[in-house]
């Protein structure tokens, strides 16, 4: 990744980039977009993230596939598939594949953004002649992606969702497609090593709304925005 830069200088922007900037985010170039590196104090962010942290991963790659033949085709591409709907499966390179329907899979990149799985699958799909093989879905554009980490994560979600996400009730890699703060979204429990964490995917056009809602809900737990650097550091230290 290159030096600090501004989202205004790139053509692809996170839907929450403005709120990140107002919060003091520092950005770095990532592919054709800008990723939040930190908010000025990565060490403090990493510490905070163990209690409650919110990281905007909206610019990282992700892709969906839906329709008849999806599961078989992905299996043929060596994607480790979940055992059932509403479960996720970690991939060898750190990516995640979550099953959202009988023939629907969501592929998230690893949090470092280096897995390349989503890009490879998209390219393979276009060049494949196997039928049926489902159809790709532009999940990078339909959903904003946030990673919520820390021991207070479930308690924070309890302020906006009627699903019991406590770790002893919501297993690792379990998926909930549900109402969150009165709009539908996807929650995937995706711990960072031993640290409780959830992926939250919400309507791309509601990113502003959700950042406000999440920060408000996090306030009582002293939660805060964290940058990508802190998130990756957590992954390294909790592995």
């Amino acid at each position: 990744m290159s030096d600090e830069m501004q989202p205004i200088n790139v053509k692809r922007r996170s839907p929450a980039y403005r709120l990140n900037a107002v919060a003091g985010a520092r950005f770095t170039a990532y592919a054709d977009t800008a990723l939040v590196t930190d908010y000025g104090d990565p060490g403090a962010e990493e510490t905070a993230a163990r209690q409650l942290g919110l990281c905007d991963l909206s610019v990282l790659p992700r892709l969906g596939f839906k329709g008849a033949g999806t599961l078989d085709w992905l299996a043929s591409r060596n994607v480790a598939l979940p055992a059932a709907v509403n479960l996720a499966s970690p991939q060898a390179d750190g990516a995640t594949a979550a099953q959202l329907g009988p023939e629907e899979i969501l592929v998230l990149s690893d949090i470092a953004g280096g897995s390349g799985l989503a890009e490879r699958l998209e390219s393979d799909w276009h060049s494949s002649e196997l039928t049926p093989r489902g159809f790709p879905l532009p999940r990078r554009e339909t959903h904003a992606w946030f990673r919520i980490s820390g021991e207070c994560s479930a308690a924070m979600f309890a302020k906006m969702s009627a699903i019991d996400l406590r770790p002893h009730k919501f297993d690792r890699h379990q998926v909930a497609q549900t109402s969150i703060a009165r709009a539908t979204g996807i929650i995937i429990r995706n711990d960072i090593g031993s640290l409780l964490a959830y992926d939250l995917l919400v309507d791309w056009t509601m990113a502003d709304y959700y950042v406000h809602v999440l920060l408000d809900a996090m306030a009582e737990f002293e939660g805060r925005l964290i940058g990508h650097r802190a998130l990756c550091a957590l992954a390294d230290t909790t592995a």
Partner: protein, 971 residues
């Protein structure tokens, strides 16, 4: 005789568990300074300083004060700053608070409306049904204003500061409501195998009655039991304790609203144990509402919780041994006991009774309280008269300033009845039972007639075990089920109307014994009718103190038993709740396009379309017409750009995509060429128009379909629903938010885009109207459509949402040399109306057929099927009486009709205006309206009734109003 004046802390005694004697709290009440202690409630802090009157009653404006000290009645509702109806006996006093009584005119002490009490005989039960309806003039000009002024108890302040309220979901295996001995035992038992247990109590600490009752002569047993149970609770990690929290209702599947401070916990419990205890009941006698008359438990709470002596000279009125516990507590607090009045004739051997006798306290057996007296203004109790009821000669009077009433209780049945249980009454021993509980709910403790500490704990333990067992998680063997707990035979206080009245049955509503009897005499012999006629039980106490006595009176008056009469049911909420708790934290989702902030920066006035925010026009609101006109002129004559990201977008893909499209929409799509767009019109089963848009064919098996902004989700669901039946080999994906889109419109739009596009030939020959291309705009991958809603040369550019803002910026930058102007939705509406395009749901309603809307051109008659085809055929044979037409008003001075203004025909309503604008481009008023079918030809008159009743004549004209040959949009 006025009461002794207030004096700071004059009634304070040591030993108050909940107060901090080292931390004073200063506040004002009725403008006078008071001092309490940290931990005091408002009522206890005032009582400590000898201020006993807190408010005035609803109808007769009688002084009222502490009765239950548990928040069970309206006596103690006060105004705290901006907030009305605060229960003073529950709300903690805070430093600097400004507190006032309620429901008076003048001052609490000198209430000018207290005179109403003298006119009580003119205000019998239900008097308002007969009093105010004649004459109409008098009602409207005198009574109604007067009653409105007096209505309510507190004052709502528009200046009240906002506070933060929110909600939290909670999930538990077992919820136990009530933290007394039974509730604590139930929680402990249920948690033995690790179940998540929630224990809720409305008091500040666990213990229930153990926190204030005196079970033995030494006064130690209750505290000991309490301490043991609490210690066990603290050691159980899976029990979550919520004190100072109210479970305010029961809803289906054990959904429980628990309110604590400013937060509403939305609890879902798999099993529920109710251990809510019992509520002490008042005695009915003349002046039974005077300040200084309170439940025995209230006096004990004052002493034990807050360290306040409830009075100096007390009479205790009882019919069981618990009353003697009250007497002993009063003695320990330094109160002189004038006597114990015991309804029972036989002496009891209970240690508490013996201890009272040992202290030389007079015990008056077989007696009851007949009346109470107060000094001038009914300010405070000064005397109590007792007797056997055999006549005046058998009465005796005692000077006192405190009467403690301990003559019976009722189960706190509210939650159980809300859950569907019934309250049964055993007429032989005057006890209640709760029956008919639904599954997954149990009751325990005194609520279940398990009275006494031992039986309550055993009953709670059993209920907890059963709850755990229902979940397959019981630890250990089933505990012994408690047998019938010792019934507390109550010697009922007689309920008879006193000759002087003021024997209140319902303190909240100022209803007396005679009021209830008179309601029955009026013919309302059923309890539910008595309630509705008299309003008994409808005040803040919701029948807690009136239900039993009301049932007894109705039983007496109708010669039935209480069991036969019954008790009115309970509905949520259990207690009054702040509106903020219900309202906050509200979630109001908003959708912003990728260009949202650019619109704000450009000074756009935003409007909502569903949850989307869209720019209406750019400029200050007071210059709306000028701005819209300017934008419209720019588009017609030069160049404009509008954000159309909100349009719905669906990918329809698969081998049967074309067939699917052919069935879903009215037009023909099987032969739609690749690289072309085609209009789509959707009808429902009934042949009514429900949506429209454009279908772009990218491949044999791939369509990208647009919908209206607010129709996207509905169209998507409709497609899924139909294909669940058809099982066509097609996949439908809702990608509405995946694309940001702009429409660049105007004669110079091609010229501008040419500067930004390298890989698409934008010429008219290579890219004709309704063409579809993929390429790059400003280096951004894009889908480009030659479509137009506004009737000018235009290109719609769809890009991935993440690129939307950059696209907008680039086009605006490049467009500066062309004089590009952003235009908003209101401008677009003017432009499309000039072009005669309908907006579904604005120009169509739940009945509009394609024929009514002149859209039969969009129907393929040769297709064997599309959704709505059959209905359209039927409806086309039986045409409606109306038709959607274009109309114009050429008079430049004519008033502008509004949408929904009625259209008349031969004096009857024939239709209404759906869209209308004053078009500066065309120099006339134009619009669309439904009119009578036989007056729908060009040249026919369209009489429109304006809002103010005037009429204006419009004329039917051919559509479109502008560029009828479509030359401008197809150039």
């Amino acid at each position: 005789m006025m009461p002794d004046s207030t004096s700071p802390g004059v009634n304070r005694v040591p030993g108050g568990e909940l107060v901090d004697y080292e931390q004073p709290v200063a506040f004002t009440f009725e403008g006078r300074s008071f001092q309490g202690l940290a931990g005091d409630t408002i009522a206890s802090a005032l009582a400590a300083s000898n201020q006993w009157v807190l408010s005035r009653s609803f109808k007769y404006h009688r002084p009222r004060g502490i009765f239950s000290l548990a928040g069970w009645e309206a006596n103690t509702l006060v105004q705290v700053g901006h907030e009305p109806n605060v229960p003073a006996d529950r709300e903690r006093v805070i430093e600097g608070a400004s507190i006032e009584g309620q429901n008076y005119r003048g001052s609490l002490e000198e209430d000018r409306d207290a005179i109403l009490g003298r006119f009580a005989r003119f205000m019998p039960v239900g008097f308002y049904y007969r009093a105010f309806y004649r004459s109409q003039w008098f009602w409207e000009n005198f009574w109604e204003p007067a009653i409105r002024k007096k209505a309510g108890l507190g004052r709502i302040s528009p200046d009240a500061p906002h506070r933060y309220f929110d909600k939290v979901f909670g999930f538990y295996d077992v919820a136990v409501i009530g933290g007394g001995p039974a509730g604590m035992a139930a929680a402990l038992e249920a948690s033995q195998s690790g179940l998540d247990v929630l224990l809720v109590d409305e008091n500040r600490t666990l213990g229930g009655a153990l926190a204030y009752e005196r079970l033995d002569d030494e006064g130690l047993a209750a505290a000991q039991h309490r301490a043991e149970l609490r210690a066990s609770i603290e050691q159980q990690p899976t029990i979550t304790v919520m004190t100072d929290a109210v479970c305010n209702g029961w809803f289906a599947d054990n959904w429980l609203p628990v309110i604590k401070d400013n937060r509403l916990y939305k609890i879902r419990a798999r099993e529920l144990v109710l251990a809510t205890g019992t509520m002490g009941q008042p005695a009915t006698f003349h002046n039974n509402d005077l300040p200084g008359i309170m439940l025995g438990s209230a006096a004990q709470r004052l002493i034990r919780a807050y360290g306040v002596r409830p009075g100096r000279r007390a009479v205790v009125y009882t019919n069981d041994d618990d009353g003697y516990g009250v007497a002993l507590d009063l003695l320990d607090a330094g109160t002189d006991i004038v006597g114990v009045v015991d309804l029972r004739t036989e002496p009891s051997r209970d240690a508490r009774v013996l201890a009272v006798a040992d202290r030389g306290i007079a015990i008056h057996r077989g007696q009851g309280v007949n009346s109470a007296s107060a000094g001038e203004g009914n300010w405070h109790l000064v005397e109590v008269t007792i007797g056997t009821g055999a006549g005046p000669a058998s009465t005796r009077s005692f000077d006192c300033d405190l009467l403690c009433v301990s003559i019976g209780s009722m189960p706190a049945y509210q939650l159980a009845l809300q859950a569907g249980a019934r309250l049964g009454h055993n007429d032989s021993d005057a006890t209640f039972s709760i029956v008919g509980l639904p599954e997954h709910i149990a009751i325990a403790g005194s609520l279940n007639s398990a009275c006494g500490v031992g039986p309550a704990i055993a009953d709670g333990r059993y209920a907890g075990w059963c709850a755990a067992n229902s979940l397959g998680a019981a630890a250990g063997a089933e505990p012994e089920r408690p047998g019938l707990a010792p019934r507390r035979l109550t010697f009922l206080h007689p309920v008879r109307a006193h000759s002087k009245g003021k024997d209140f049955v319902d303190f909240d509503e100022d209803l007396q014994v005679a009021d209830i009897a008179n309601a029955v005499a009026e013919g309302y012999s059923e309890l539910e009718l008595v309630k509705r006629f008299s309003t008994v039980g409808m005040g803040p106490s919701q029948g807690r103190h009136s239900a039993l006595n009301t049932a007894r009176i109705v039983a007496q008056e109708t010669d039935r038993t209480v069991g036969e009469v019954g008790v009115t049911t309970a509905r949520p909420p259990v207690y009054g709740e702040r509106l903020g708790v219900l309202a906050g934290r509200s979630f109001e989702p908003e959708r912003h396009t990728a260009m949202h902030h650019r619109h704000l920066e450009a000074g756009a006035q935003m409007l909502t379309a569903g949850v989307w925010w869209r720019p209406a026009f750019y400029g200050p609101p007071e210059r709306r017409d000028e701005c819209v006109s300017r934008e419209a002129v720019a588009v017609r004559q030069n160049l404009g750009m509008i954000d159309v990201s909100t349009l719905g977008g669906l990918e329809v893909r698969g081998p049967d995509a074309a067939e699917f499209m052919n069935r879903m929409y009215t037009f023909a799509y099987l032969k739609q060429p690749i690289g072309r767009a085609r209009y789509v019109l959707m009808t429902n089963d009934a042949g009514t128009i429900i949506d429209d848009g454009v279908a772009c064919r990218f491949a044999e098996d791939w369509y990208y379909v647009t919908t209206t902004t607010t129709g996207a989700e509905r169209v998507y669901q409709t497609m899924l629903w139909w294909n669940a039946q058809w099982r066509l080999n097609v996949d439908v994906a809702n990608v509405s938010v995946a694309f940001a889109a702009v429409n660049v419109a105007g004669p110079r739009s091609r010229e501008l885009l040419d500067t930004l596009v390298d890989d698409i030939d934008l010429s008219a020959e290579a890219f004709p109207y309704m063409g579809v291309r993929e390429g790059h705009v400003a280096g951004i991958p894009a889908r480009v459509f030659r479509v137009g809603f506004v009737g000018e040369l235009g290109f719609e550019v769809h890009v991935a949402s993440g690129h939307g803002e950059a696209l907008w910026d680039t086009i605006m930058d490049a467009g500066q040399v062309f004089g590009i102007v952003p235009f908003g939705v209101e401008t677009q509406r003017v432009l499309r109306l000039e072009k005669g395009h309908i907006i579904v749901s604005q120009d169509t309603d739940a009945m509009t057929t394609p024929e009514e809307a002149h859209m039969t051109w969009a129907i393929s008659r040769r297709k064997p099927f599309f959704v709505g085809k059959r209905s359209i055929e039927v409806r086309d044979r039986f045409l409606s009486k109306r038709k959607l037409v274009g109309f114009a008003i050429d008079d430049p001075f004519a008033p502008l009709p509004q949408e929904s203004n009625l259209v008349l025909h031969e004096g009857e309503i024939a239709g209404f205006v759906t869209s209308v604008v004053r078009s500066s481009n065309l120099g006339r008023i134009i619009g669309l309206a439904y009119t009578a079918r036989d007056a729908s030809e060009p040249g026919d008159a369209v009489p429109i009734r304006l809002d103010d009743g005037r009429s204006v004549d419009a004329t039917v004209v051919e559509l479109p109003f502008y560029d009828p040959d479509n030359r401008r949009q197809e150039m």
